[in-house]
């Protein structure tokens, strides 16, 4: 089922809430999570790059990397070219990492969203912590949770 989710973090754990944008208000979902002591997760460029790498390691495919508006057009073109080659050779990820190195600088948010294909399903991951796709539980447990736990709690 195609659904939306929002990523949150507690003192010692990461989780996500599924929600239907047509039935629930985005900020209501946040308010409820905050009342339980959770905070929104911001997917900065460093986390986004780690998610891309985790996707490739899990035999997934990177479909798109949407950079922010103030990114140089040269960088945008290079990223696009590398991604088209990534489909045939995962080792090209090293080049993508190099290209995104400036963006992955601690805390930068220069990648707005990414589209990945994992376990025969397509997913979108946004910098504001929204995830969208068919089986969010699978994406969360296999890709996102391990990356975020390493980033926030070093495990």
């Amino acid at each position: 089922m195609n659904s939306y989710g929002k990523l949150f973090r507690g003192r010692n754990n990461i989780n996500f809430r599924s929600y239907d944008p047509e039935k629930e208000k985005y900020f209501q979902v946040i308010k409820e999570a905050r009342s339980e002591g959770l905070k929104q997760v911001i997917i900065n460029s460093e986390i986004m790059t780690d998610i891309l790498y985790a996707t490739l390691q899990s035999n997934g495919v990177v479909l798109k990397v949407n950079m922010s508006d103030n990114t140089d057009n040269d960088v945008k073109d290079n990223v696009k070219a590398i991604i088209s080659k990534l489909k045939s050779d995962n080792l090209i990820f090293v080049k993508l990492r190099e290209e995104l190195e400036w963006a992955a600088d601690s805390g930068s948010i220069d990648i707005n969203s990414i589209d990945v294909y994992f376990s025969n399903k397509r997913y979108e991951i946004y910098s504001n912590g929204i995830i969208h796709g068919d089986d969010l539980d699978l994406l969360f447990s296999e890709i996102i949770k391990p990356v975020l736990e390493k980033y926030f709690y070093g495990r």
């Binding site: 003192r11 985005y26 900020f27 946040i30 308010k31 905050r34 002591g37 905070k39 929104q40 997760v41 911001i42 900065n44 460093e46 103030n70 601690s106 805390g107 930068s108 948010i109 707005n112 910098s127 504001n128 912590g129 980033y151 926030f152 709690y153 070093g154």
Partner: protein, 208 residues
């Protein structure tokens, strides 16, 4: 607001300095301590008074500057600027997507011991995130990050340190809000007067 406060403070300091110089000069002239008379330049009392007043004014001003230079040099200088990372300005507007602000911390001078940490208070309508670092801690209840200055300066005798810490921020409500994010470092009166100079500039943050 913070800028205005600083402006008024330095204006008061300037005026106090002028008043202090004037008092010292008047005392010297009152007790008939005259350089002009010593030089036998003139007998005219009005000219003697004017010359003494001018010379003492210059000498006392110079003495004040020298004393201030050594007084300031002996203190540890701490400068904390909070800025919009993309534009390097002191203002930021948050919409649907997260934004980045950064704390630029500059410490110069001789080592001083600190019992308190630098506190950066974030408004309740902001969720804030940064990569964990050994000198950073977070107070959930106050939505406040604490920077342990002691562990940053690591008992070095002479300090010349610049550290940038990026904070990602995202609003957690659709209401339109405005606030000022500032850093605070609690210092005792003695420390403030004799040991540390603290310059602190915050960032105006609003949600749309």
């Amino acid at each position: 607001m913070a800028d205005k406060k600083e402006e008024i403070k330095s204006e008061i300091k300037r005026n106090l300095r002028t008043i202090a110089i004037l008092i010292i000069v008047i005392i010297l002239i009152y007790f008939d301590i005259s350089i002009t008379k010593l030089l036998n330049f003139t007998e005219d009392k009005k000219i003697i008074w004017t010359l003494d007043f001018g010379i003492y004014n210059i000498l006392v001003s110079m003495l004040f500057s020298v004393v201030y230079y050594f007084y300031k040099g002996a203190k540890l200088q701490i400068k904390i600027d909070i800025l919009n990372k993309k534009e390097d300005t002191s203002e930021i507007t948050i919409r649907e997507n997260p934004e980045e602000i950064y704390v630029k911390l500059n410490v110069e001078g001789k080592h001083k011991k600190f019992s308190s940490k630098i506190e950066i208070f974030f408004p309740h309508w902001i969720d804030v995130q940064t990569k964990p670092k050994p000198y950073l801690s977070f107070d959930e209840d106050k939505n406040t990050y604490l920077i342990d200055l002691e562990s940053l300066i690591l008992n070095k005798e002479n300090i010349s340190l610049t550290e940038s810490i990026t904070f990602d921020v995202l609003k957690n409500t659709d209401e339109k809000n405005k606030d000022l994010i500032e850093a605070k470092l609690k210092l005792g009166l003695f420390t403030k007067f004799f040991k540390v100079v603290l310059e602190n500039k915050g960032i105006k943050i609003k949600s749309k």
